[in-house]
Symmetry: C2
C-alpha cells in the first residue's frame, strides 16, 4: 500500500469531524491534497481561516472535481442533499465515503443519490462534546476505532485504500457489515446518548431541586451524563431517526431491565440489586483490560484530560 | 476555630472513604490522632500495614474510647450494627457522624442505635470507581463538596467543628436538611448510578452483539456508564434501599421523559428530539461555568486523569 492511498480528498461538511480530517490529512498524509466544502458560507470562511484544507471549493458543483476520495462529514439526515449537490463534479472512479454514526441508512442514501458510483461508508468512533469547524484537531482519530462497512459488491482494492487512509490518520480499523454496525453502535453509543439526554432533561425540570443544586453536586455521577448530553443536537437527532429499529430494540431491553431493578427497589429486594451490580463490574474490567480506558496521557488529548471520579 | 477541631477521631470502616479520611487527617490535621476500626480482621491488618490510622483499635468496644469524633464509613445498611458495636466505648460528649450517600435513613439509624449521643450526619460527595482500604488517598476530598445535615436540635458549636474538620480535609462544605439532601442526591447521583448499572447489564445480555464488541466500541458513550457502574455493589444496594422514595420518584419522572423521546423516535418526530437535545446543553454549560468539570490539573487527581471524549 502506498503512503498516499488517495491523491486528493474532498471533505464535505467542515464541523468537528470534517475539520479534524482536514487537519489530520495535512499532518499525516503530506502527499494528499485536501479540498474542503461546506454548504454554510460562514463555515467556509472560518475553515479557510483555520486552514482546515489546502483550498476551499468555490461551489458545491466543483467541490469533488479532481478528487479520488470524497468524504461526507454532515449529519446523517443531510447526506442525501450533500451528495446530490456535489454529484456534478464527481468522477466515476472516485470513492465516496462518510463518517456517519449509522450506516445502513447512509449507505442507502448515498447509493441512491450517486448511482453508478463507488460507495464504501465508514464510521470513525471518535468525537468530543464540542462541535463546529474550530473544534477539530489532527489527532482526534489516533488510537480510536474506525469501522468500515463495505457493501457486498464493493471493490476490495478500494476498501483496502480506505482502510489505509484511516490507518494513516491514526485509527484502528475494523470491517463489518452495515446492519451489524448499527446494532453494535445502538448499544455502545446511541442508547447511552439517548439515556444521557433524557436524564439531563429530567433533572432540569425538577421543582424540588434547583438547577444550580443539580450543577453543584453533579460530581456524584450526573456530570458524566451531561458531557454525553452536550453533543451536537442535529447530529444526534439524525442518528436516532436513521437507526430507529436498532435503537428502539435496545431501548426496549433497557426498559425491561430498568423495570426489574425498580421493582427490586420498591420491594426492598437487596439481593437482586447486589447481584446485578456485581455482574456489571465484569464489563468494566474488560474495558480496562482492553486498554479502552486508562490513564495513558496520549490515549486522550491532554487538553481534554480531567477528573473521572464517580462519587456517591 | 482551632486548627484541630477534634483531638482524636475514630474511623469505623476502612474502605475507600474511611481510608482516605485516615490519610487526609494525618496529612492535613497533624494535631489529631486517628484510630481505625473495621469489622473485618483482614481489612484491619491491611489498614495497619497501609498506615491508614495512627493505631488500629483492638476491639469494636474500645474503638471509640477517647475520641471526640467518630465517623462511620460503612455501607448505609451497616450503620446500625456498626453503631451498636462501638457504643460501649463511646463518650456522651463525642460527636457521631458518617459519610453515607443517603441521609434521612442514616440519621434515624444512628439516633436510634446511640440514644442520647450527638449525631450530625455528613456526606462527602467524593469517590472513585475503586473500593477497599488500598484505594484511599489523602486528597480525595480536595475541592469536592461535603454536605453536612445537622438535625434541627443539633448543637451549632458541634456542627461548626464538623464543618471545620471537612474544610481542613480540603472539602467545600454546604449545610442542608437530610430530606432535601436525599432529593438532590437522588437526581445527581443515585438515579445516574441506577441507569448506568441498568444499561451495562442490558449490554452484557445481548445475543446479536458480543461482549467483546461492546467493550471494543465503548468509547462511543457506553464507557462513561461502565465507570459509574463499577462502583461498590454493597454500598449502592444500600443507597437504593435507604433512599427508596426519592429514587423511585426521580425514576418515575425519568421513565416518563424517556417514553416521550421513544415515541418521538418511533414517529420520526425530529423536532421533539432536536428541541430536547438543545435544552440539555444549557445544564452542561452551567457545570463548566461553575468549575465542576474542567481541565485544571488539580481538580481531579493526576493518577486518574484520562480521556473524556464522547464519540458517536
Amino acid at each position: 500500500m502506498s503512503d498516499t492511498p488517495f491523491r486528493q480528498v474532498t471533505i464535505v461538511g467542515l464541523g468537528l469531524l470534517g475539520g479534524s480530517i482536514g487537519h489530520a490529512v495535512q499532518a499525516f498524509l503530506p502527499g494528499t491534497t485536501v479540498v474542503g466544502w461546506d454548504a454554510d458560507a460562514g463555515v467556509r470562511a472560518q475553515a479557510a481561516e483555520l486552514g482546515l484544507a489546502h483550498r476551499i471549493a468555490e461551489s458545491a458543483e466543483t467541490a469533488a472535481q479532481g478528487s479520488d476520495l470524497v468524504i461526507f462529514c454532515v449529519p446523517v439526515g443531510a447526506m442525501d442533499a450533500a451528495a446530490r449537490a456535489i454529484a456534478p463534479g464527481l468522477s466515476k472512479d472516485a470513492l465516496v465515503s462518510d463518517v456517519g454514526s449509522s450506516k445502513e441508512t447512509v449507505a442507502a442514501a448515498l447509493a441512491e443519490a450517486l448511482p453508478g458510483h463507488h460507495v464504501i461508508p465508514a464510521h470513525p468512533v471518535a468525537g468530543t462534546e464540542r462541535s463546529g469547524p474550530d473544534a477539530g484537531f489532527a489527532t482526534l482519530f489516533r488510537n480510536r476505532w474506525c469501522i468500515v462497512t463495505p457493501p457486498a459488491d464493493a471493490d476490495p482494492a478500494l476498501s483496502a485504500r480506505l482502510v489505509a487512509f484511516w490507518e494513516a490518520l491514526g485509527a484502528r480499523v475494523e470491517t463489518m457489515d452495515a446492519a451489524h454496525h448499527d446494532k453494535v453502535l445502538a448499544v455502545t453509543s446511541h442508547l447511552p446518548h439517548l439515556i444521557a439526554y433524557t436524564i439531563v432533561g429530567t433533572a432540569s425540570d425538577l421543582e424540588q431541586v434547583t438547577q444550580s443544586e443539580v450543577i453543584k453536586y453533579s460530581a456524584g455521577g450526573f456530570r458524566d451524563f451531561t458531557r454525553i448530553a452536550a453533543s451536537d443536537p442535529t447530529m444526534w437527532r439524525d442518528v436516532f431517526l436513521s437507526n430507529k429499529d436498532a435503537v428502539l430494540e435496545m431501548l426496549q431491553r433497557f426498559t425491561e431491565d430498568l423495570t426489574e431493578l425498580q421493582k427490586a427497589i420498591r420491594k426492598g429486594d437487596g439481593d437482586v440489586l447486589f447481584d446485578h451490580f456485581t455482574r456489571t463490574r465484569a464489563i468494566r474490567r474488560g474495558i480496562i483490560e482492553m486498554g479502552q480506558d486508562d490513564a495513558r496521557p496520549d490515549f486522550g488529548r491532554s487538553d481534554h484530560n480531567g477528573a473521572k471520579e464517580s462519587a456517591g
